[in-house]
C-alpha cells in the first residue's frame, strides 16, 4: 500500500480532433533556469563594516568609577577616574582636575591599566553632550589661498572654552565628595605610577 501523496499530475482537456481528449499536465514542473553558481557571490565589502558600526568591547575589569592608570600621552603614569565608554569605544575619564590636572579627557582602552580600586559613581550624572564630537580635535582647512602662503594651520594652539570649564566643574563637583569619603584616595589619585627595580608588571596585582 502506497502512502497518499498529493497528485503530481492533473489531466486537462485538450481541444482538437483526434488529439486524445486530455493531456496529463505536471503540477510541479522542473526549473527552466539553473544559475551556474550555487550560492550568489558575496560583495568584496562583505563583513567589512564602517567604523561607526564596529562592535565596541570593554574589558570586564573596567566599570564606571574604576581608577585607571594612563600609560601614554602627556599624562602617562597618572591615575584617573573612569566615567563611561563613548560611542567610538574610547573611555571618558577625568582627573579630577584639582587633583592631578587631568581634565575630562578621552583615553584608549588598550593604553590603560585598570586597577581594582572602584568608586561608586551611580549618583554622578554625566551630561549627555559629552560625546566624541565634543572631544574631537578641530581642524580648519580652507586653504583657498596659495599653499606657499599659509603653512601654519589656523588652530594650532588648543584654547580652553568656557563650556569645557563648566562641564569640568559640573562633573568634578559630583565626584570630589565621593573621593573625599574614601581615606587616602585623594593622595592616591594625586600620585603617579612608576616601575622600579624588582617590580615586574606581570607579577603585580592591580
Amino acid at each position: 500500500t502506497t502512502l497518499f501523496r498529493s497528485p503530481a499530475t492533473v489531466s486537462k482537456p485538450v481541444g482538437g480532433d483526434k488529439n486524445g481528449g486530455t493531456r496529463m499536465v505536471k503540477l510541479r514542473k522542473m526549473p527552466r533556469y539553473y544559475p551556474t553558481e550555487d550560492v550568489p557571490r558575496k560583495l568584496l565589502s562583505h563583513g567589512k563594516k564602517p567604523f561607526c558600526q564596529h562592535r565596541r568591547k570593554l574589558r570586564p575589569s573596567i566599570t564606571p568609577g574604576t581608577v585607571l592608570i594612563l600609560l601614554n600621552g602627556r599624562h602617562r603614569g597618572k591615575r584617573v577616574v573612569f566615567l563611561k565608554q563613548l560611542a567610538s569605544g574610547l573611555l571618558l575619564a577625568t582627573g579630577p582636575l584639582v587633583l592631578n590636572r587631568i581634565p575630562l579627557r578621552r583615553a584608549h582602552q588598550k593604553f590603560v591599566i585598570a586597577t581594582s580600586t572602584k568608586i561608586d559613581i551611580s549618583t554622578v550624572k554625566i551630561p549627555k553632550h559629552l560625546n566624541d564630537s565634543y572631544f574631537k580635535k578641530k581642524k580648519l582647512r580652507k586653504p583657498k589661498h596659495q599653499e606657499g602662503e599659509i603653512f601654519d594651520t589656523e588652530k594650532e594652539k588648543y584654547e580652553l572654552t568656557e563650556q569645557r570649564k563648566e562641564d569640568q566643574k559640573m562633573v568634578d563637583s559630583q565626584l570630589l565628595p565621593l573621593i573625599k569619603k574614601e581615606p587616602q584616595l585623594r593622595g592616591y589619585l594625586r600620585s603617579t605610577f612608576s616601575l622600579s627595580n624588582g617590580v615586574y608588571p606581570h607579577k603585580l596585582v592591580f
Binding site: 587616602q184 593622595g187 600620585s191 596585582v205
Partner: protein
C-alpha cells in the same frame, strides 16, 4: 666551625635538630596540598611516608619526603595509628593554634598578603612606611643631639 664542633662533641651540638619520626608534624611546601600541615604516621620506604592531616584537610596518603618540611611539633601516637587517634593527638596538642603563633607561619602569611596587594594598597603601604620612618628619624636625631651635647 659547626662541623668541627659536631665531630668533637656529638652530644653537645647536633647538625640536625628535627627528625623524621612518627608524629612529626610537617609543612607541605609544594604539590596539591601545598601550605597544609600533616603528621607523619609511618615510613613506607626511603622516599615516602604515610601521612595524615585530619585537622588540615589532607586525607591519609603516601607522600614523598621531598615535599615535606619538618616543623618543631611532635605528636604522640603509635605508628600506623588510625585517623581518629591522630586527630585526638593533634587536638590535644592544639597544633593549629601553636602553628599560627610561630614566626614561620607569620612569614608565610605576610608573603601571601604582599603578593595580593593592589595598587592602592601599595600606595597606602608607602605612605605608612614614610610616616613611620619620619617618626623614627625624628627620635634618632633627638638622641644624637643629646649625645653630641654631652660630648
Amino acid at each position: 666551625t659547626t662541623l668541627f664542633r659536631s665531630f668533637c662533641s656529638r652530644t653537645a651540638t647536633m647538625v640536625f635538630k628535627r627528625y623524621v619520626q612518627i608524629g612529626r608534624v610537617a609543612y607541605i611546601s609544594f604539590g596539591p596540598h601545598a601550605g597544609k600541615l600533616v603528621a607523619i604516621v609511618d615510613v613506607i620506604d626511603q622516599n615516602r611516608a604515610l601521612v595524615d592531616g585530619p585537622c588540615s584537610g589532607v586525607k591519609r596518603q603516601a607522600m614523598p619526603f621531598k615535599c615535606m618540611q619538618l616543623t618543631d611539633f611532635v605528636l604522640k601516637f603509635p605508628h600506623s595509628a588510625r585517623q581518629k587517634c591522630v586527630r585526638k593527638a593533634w587536638e590535644k596538642e592544639n597544633v593549629n593554634d601553636k602553628w599560627a603563633l610561630t614566626r614561620w607561619a607569620k612569614k608565610i602569611d605576610a608573603k601571601d598578603k604582599k603578593s595580593k596587594m593592589t595598587d592602592f594598597d601599595r600606595y597606602r603601604v608607602m605612605k605608612a612606611k614614610k610616616m613611620r620612618n619620619k617618626i623614627i628619624k625624628h627620635e634618632m636625631k633627638k638622641l644624637q643631639k643629646e649625645s653630641s651635647k654631652k660630648a
